[in-house]
Symmetry: C2
Subunit: 330 residues, 2 copies
């Protein structure tokens, strides 16, 4: 690390406040110690952050892609890896030197797990989000199929993603509880010790889940910030103001630096006009100048991080480390 000051970093780049990361890890770790939390790595895609979660006592991880599974296994974090997603070709999973569990929601995905050499599965239940997950009434038959092939059925998972972003805590709670009722019923048909569910928006609801799959809590974004959660913003896009006009300024970060599905990113004290490929046009009350550096807060952490190669770890204005975002891609 030759670069010691954030003011010498190339832009756009990602800043990571290590102390904020650690506070977020500690905050959720107190509520959900050890295996009660299965950290989802899809938000940060960074084995160095996963390592800190491991050191905080969480030794089982959740992934959305095979590449994430491979990356965690490669750095020795493969004690209990769950691919909370369906795959039709599980051979790369079967080849891992790790404990591997994969979600299944159809006869085809059960067979793929078996043929790929994976030995443990969770039955993925549709709990209301129109995405993966079998109909609850089909769960038992899938579990039977899996067991008949010699697979261990560890239990069920169900992701209540359709309620995760509801900012009203009461409405989010009501939706989550209904989803978890469905999941527990399916679990009673399937058996096994695991009921895996939840996320950053629902981590503290008492739902009967044995483990929570939260990931965004470590880094946060402006969308989750609306839900008044006990986690703080811990990363930003660091950008340079490259042009200033009478009514607006332009920073060197744009559509290739931010996931845009939740809308524009934010700059404190400024109004965002629009993003283009490599630019952010915004107006600001402050007397902003060409060459100024600014922190831009992403609206959606996961697709933002996936564009970047590394986090620059900072304490104040000092750059103390650089952590590769080494779980990108598929």
């Amino acid at each position: 690390m030759a670069i010691r000051s954030v003011h010498d970093l190339p832009t756009p780049s990602l800043l990571l406040d290590m102390e904020a990361v650690d506070r977020n890890i500690q905050a959720l770790g107190r509520a959900l110690p050890g295996a009660r939390l299965r950290p989802h790595v899809k938000a940060h895609k960074c084995t160095s952050i996963a390592q800190r979660q491991f050191e905080a006592g969480h030794r089982s991880f959740c992934c959305a892609t095979i590449r994430e599974m491979e990356g965690l296994a490669a750095v020795g974090l493969g004690e209990d890896l769950l691919l909370a997603n369906e795959v039709l070709d599980a051979r790369r999973l079967g080849a891992l030197d790790a404990r591997v569990t994969v979600a299944v929601d159809s006869r085809e995905t059960v067979r793929a797990a078996f043929e790929g050499g994976v030995s443990e599965v969770l039955i993925d239940i549709n709990v209301g989000l129109p995405r993966c997950g079998c109909a609850p009434e089909d769960a038992r038959a899938l579990a039977d199929q899996a067991r008949s092939l010699g697979l261990k059925v560890r239990g069920v998972m169900g992701y209540e993603g359709h309620v995760m972003g509801i900012t009203s805590r009461e409405e989010r709670y009501a939706g989550c509880i209904e989803s978890m009722r469905i999941l527990r019923e399916a679990h009673s048909e399937v058996g096994g010790e695991v009921v895996s569910a939840g996320g950053t928006g629902t981590w503290d609801f008492d739902t009967g889940a044995t483990e929570i799959q939260a990931g965004s809590y470590v880094l946060m974004d402006t969308a989750y910030a609306k839900s008044a959660l006990p986690f703080e913003q811990a990363f930003w896009v660091w950008a340079t103001v490259i042009s200033v006009s009478k009514e607006y300024a332009v920073a060197d970060c744009g559509l290739k630096a931010f996931g845009m599905d939740h809308g524009n990113p934010s700059v404190e004290g400024a109004r965002i006009w629009f993003c283009s490929d490599e630019h952010l046009t915004f107006s600001s009350q402050s007397s902003i100048r060409v060459g100024d550096r600014i922190r831009v807060t992403p609206a959606h952490v996961d697709p933002t991080v996936a564009y970047h190669e590394s986090f620059y770890v900072v304490q104040g204005d000092e750059v103390v480390d650089q952590w590769p975002i080494d779980l990108r891609g598929w």
Copy 2:
């Protein structure tokens, strides 16, 4: 290349129809031969595609990032590289073994070019898009400043991005002509042989630009398809259907596989419900099955390509090559 069939590719991945790419390159090359087209590499970020543009006679290139400049220089395509963007630290540009021109729009960016060891600049003019570019009335003073520092001022550039996506050809033309009137007036103040402007949506308007900066025409997307341009879709996200329910199906491509600022991608014959991080939920008339492979057409080429590591080059169902997307990042 061990993989010979698209059906054996990992998903999600990018398919590139090489023949369609070549037809697009030839179509625009006939209208804008040689240096009349300065291909913009920001859409494809791939030196293998740039090489084909070079072989078609276009030897000067346009970039949006320093990394793109470095990557082109590294493969020997540095005969005439324009960074059509402002930078405050031009040292990496000054170090390139290539002919380097950089856009400037302020006293600070002129000075940065000089201090970074870049010897040629274009004065970037605001032609109506609220982004970079100086006010036209400031152009002459910036050119004077640059020349007083010993920089060569090659001319002007101005990007009419605010009209590029207007689907009505008449309205697009009217906006473009007004922008180019501004640009030509600034050029008369600045001098130099270059008037660089334009893009895939305005390439055939007679505007007085000496060179056109088109990039998206090589690959296309559903947004540009609305403008009835003579270019064809040449790349897709290739995905696997991983789950099928009564009303919808789910493919393994999502917010990390598509730039989302232009909205959802498209699947032929299907209605898109929504994207999540690694999933696309859609309903289809056809009898779709778990394990089917589908082509998904992105809404915006540039931020889509930036998520991916390579193009799989296909002829029909045969995979004939794999081209790294080697100009990603900054």
